[in-house]
Subunit: 525 residues, 2 copies
């Protein structure tokens, strides 16, 4: 299929503005075709109004109908064929095999939410039956369930052009909740975005869904995105990207006349703590595991292990020596965009210039104009506690080894941490029992605690929390991966003394959907 | 017991500041004893630091231990005896019988949360078992549950000196979640606050809880409250009160370096729609029901029915005539404070001066310096649609009748509504079937939809939503009444590949707590 470079405003193409841009091949910095048109304020407004209108119909759809839609989207994405992988690879420099996996993840995610809807219990149905004879006043019948918030704005991430983009976790959980989506395409992979958006719209048409249930607008500047976030009819925002981007969106959203929730996943450094006995016992294993996790996808994961903490010892010295040569010899790679590459290099330079930081592996200038090498840097726990900026994320294939002098210093460092998506502890059973306090402290700092594993690789499943305290996200009570992501886009409503014929199916006496419900405080099906 | 007028900072009394104030008897505007000391910034800081320290222990308590604490608080509140009711009545002018009921509600609420903890399934335990043989990569074991956020600041309401105050819904749900509470006492009932705070601290001591699990600070000015909200160690805020107060707290909280969630319940006008057939069939019934709901507790409820919508007809005219004389003849009453009384009178004056508004019942000046009378005012749907300010809350015993010309105008008015805590529809089966669209529109606007009832009277139960879209609250995804209120003060954490001995009991294989859990997507016990 040929690409248009236009906005997809519901079922219509639109090209009102004069501002244009193109995708860039990060492998050679050359412009790609076609030319894309940045959305005007008016186009954003049209898309949101269509979403608002579509919501009137879409919110009343049964869970089964929404499940069909999600399944049809999955089908249509597969239907695009290899051109989707080729396009994404051209725009992002990610290898085809990785994109194959990511497509599988995207399709699997759609299926997971479709299954959640088909099962139906996610709506949290609660029924407290009336007690007409209660004194001094009769107790009314009260029933509660989740209802969708309304049109949602979604901003995709550059580093997952499929799984966290147009048909990614935010879009899918919003659509599953019953919310129309206006998607802001990422300018680093606009062609990939158009392919997937077209697939979603084909699926919407096939399911005879209202015009506006999904729209996509383009933008190289921040303007279309800000117009979206501040539009009075937008009810929530999903975002994956940088702290700067996410925080700017949050700030705009909470200053609206009617503030709205913003679910911004802004990444973190995902500290890895290696405890003494584990360090002594599995040095080589840790070296290969960590090198893999640091350099995977040229280090472009929100869960990249950017900080490694050990306690000073001869074992630790030997380990770091091995890790240094492993990182040193890891292949260079092409990053997603020139901006990301420059930001990575600047971040490394800034850290290197700090008198408390040593560069162990990696070297500037890089092997080519477009490739970057991996870095291992080193500092002390004391320096990191005194200057927490040392622990801020440098997005890319680098990690900072933090040397602590004692267990006490490890605990102090842990206490000083800000919010992170994940933290990892490597330890033997003895280690873990001895460092129980560390585990307790770290649980307060993260969305996910990993034992003897690596933070990269986020399972899309029921028990996943891909989130964490600020500044990892703007809402620690939520996750952007896994089925719980749906709860970001709903709110509870109680129905008091409604006759059966007015009640949603999920709350009717006969339980026609056969879902789990809490009846007078007890779970029943 | 004698009152001190001091801050209760954990288990210690404190009186560092020079600023003082007293409670005022609203029945005669005379100062009450003792003299209360406004908290200094330093005292607020001390209380928060103690809460932060206490959290280290309190968050690790079992649900059963927390349940014992809540039950002990309930016991200690009852133990205070009649002096609690007398003190509250003196400070608020609320009658003893009402306060007896409110004490029952407060104690019942503590018991409800204790039962929730004893049952234990509230933690949303989810387990996705490992698949070591999965290709291309093994699937790790992932388990998720809710953990407490940390120290919570709670602001009580003036209109519920027991049930939404020191040991009210916000405090109880935060303590149940595992969060220490720093309570900002309401200056309109400081003596009542000290009595209840002392009961909580007695219970905490009896349960050998850490110093700082509960503190209470006083303040007549906004300063101690703002110091609390902006304190870096405070992790969430619960508030019940005016829009102005709640919005100021929200604005301060989202502008912090680390933004925190604010759950402000700011009231609403709770529109009541009376459909034609019901209006014709149960005029007298509606008149007495509405008069009761409007004037209950001198109209000082967040769920007071401040707007009544009917369609123009001879039946509607007859109904309004009856309602007018009913409201006119309802007794005058003393409001909670002179400020609330003056704000009520100003609100009525402002509405009365609007050329689109007629005063049907009620008259200025009032029967006495301290009492107010009830009001019924009237406007047209067209005027209300053009000027939504007409529908803003006037806190007190008044209601605005909105006359619509047609069903279409009723729908248009409903569409124009902002967020409310509740809405009520009176209708026969025929009415309700004919106005299905109205019900659908209104569901989008509120936290609770009531059929053929009255909005005052909020059941404390599992299925209650006491919340709603902005400006009714600052977070429509939450409730401040009912067991779901606990979820405001927790966030999910995932545990990946933890050995059994490190897992919280709720997530261990053997399910030692016998709670409901989602295992590989299925609910099990």
């Amino acid at each position: 299929m040929s690409l248009t470079g236009q906005q997809l405003i519901g079922y219509e193409y639109s090209q009102q503005g004069k501002q244009t841009f193109t995708g860039i091949n990060p492998r050679n910095n050359e412009a790609l075709s076609p030319i894309f048109h940045e959305a005007t304020k008016n186009e954003v407004d049209l898309a949101v109004h269509k979403a608002h209108e579509a919501f009137k119909t879409y919110r009343r759809l049964s869970d089964k109908q929404k499940a069909q839609f999600l399944e049809k989207i999955a089908e249509e994405i597969v239907e695009i064929g290899d051109v989707l992988l080729d396009t994404a690879s051209l725009e992002t420099a990610l290898p085809i095999t990785r994109l194959q996996g990511e497509r599988g993840r995207t399709v699997g995610q759609l299926q997971l939410f479709a299954n959640l809807l088909k099962e139906g219990s996610w709506v949290n149905a609660r029924i407290d039956l009336a007690q007409p004879d209660r004194t001094p006043l009769p107790k009314p019948d009260i029933r509660q369930m989740e209802v969708p918030l309304g049109p949602v704005a979604v901003f995709g991430a550059s580093n997952f052009p499929l799984a966290f983009s147009v048909a990614g976790g935010d879009t899918v959980s919003a659509l599953a909740a019953g919310c129309p989506v206006v998607f802001k395409a990422h300018p680093a992979h606009p062609a990939t975005c158009e392919l997937v958006a077209t697939a979603i719209l084909k699926a919407a048409k096939a399911c005879q869904l209202p015009d506006g249930v999904f729209s996509m607008v383009h933008g190289l500047t921040h303007e279309p995105g800000m117009a979206l976030v501040t539009h009075p009819l937008i009810q929530a925002v999903g975002f994956t990207g940088s702290f700067r981007g996410g925080k700017a969106i949050y700030d705009a959203a909470v200053r609206r006349n009617t503030p709205i929730p913003v679910y911004a996943e802004m990444g973190s450094t995902n500290p890895v703590f290696i405890l003494p006995e584990a360090l002594a016992q599995k040095k080589q294993n840790l070296v290969s595991g960590l090198t893999g996790s640091i350099t995977l996808g040229v280090g472009q994961f929100c869960t990249n292990p950017g900080v490694i903490v050990t306690e000073s010892s001869s074992e630790s010295e030997a380990f770091i020596e091995l890790l240094t040569s492993s990182v040193e010899s890891s292949p260079s790679g092409v990053m997603l965009t020139a901006v990301i590459k420059n930001t990575y290099q600047k971040g490394i330079e800034l850290l290197s210039m700090n008198p408390d930081v040593n560069v162990l592996a990696g070297s500037l200038p890089h092997t080519s104009d477009t490739e970057v090498s991996s870095y291992l840097l080193e500092t002390t726990a004391q320096a990191a506690i005194e200057n927490p900026a040392l622990l801020e994320e440098v997005f890319g294939p680098s990690s900072l080894h933090v040397q602590a002098q004692s267990k006490e210093e490890v605990l102090k460092l842990a206490e000083s941490l800000q919010g992170h998506l994940t933290t990892t502890i490597h330890g033997t059973e003895n280690d873990l029992r001895e460092y129980a306090e560390l585990i307790d402290i770290l649980t307060q700092k993260v969305g996910r605690l990993i034992i003897n594993g690596y933070p990269t690789g986020v399972e899309v499943t029921h028990a996943m929390t891909h989130g964490g305290p600020f500044p990892a996200t703007t809402d620690s009570r939520s996750t952007s991966v896994g089925t719980n992501a749906i709860y970001r886009f709903v709110r509870p409503v109680s129905f008091q003394d409604l006759p059966q014929f007015l009640l949603p199916e999920a709350l009717q006496d006969s339980n026609p959907l056969s879902i789990w419900r809490m009846v007078n405080g007890e779970y029943k099906k």
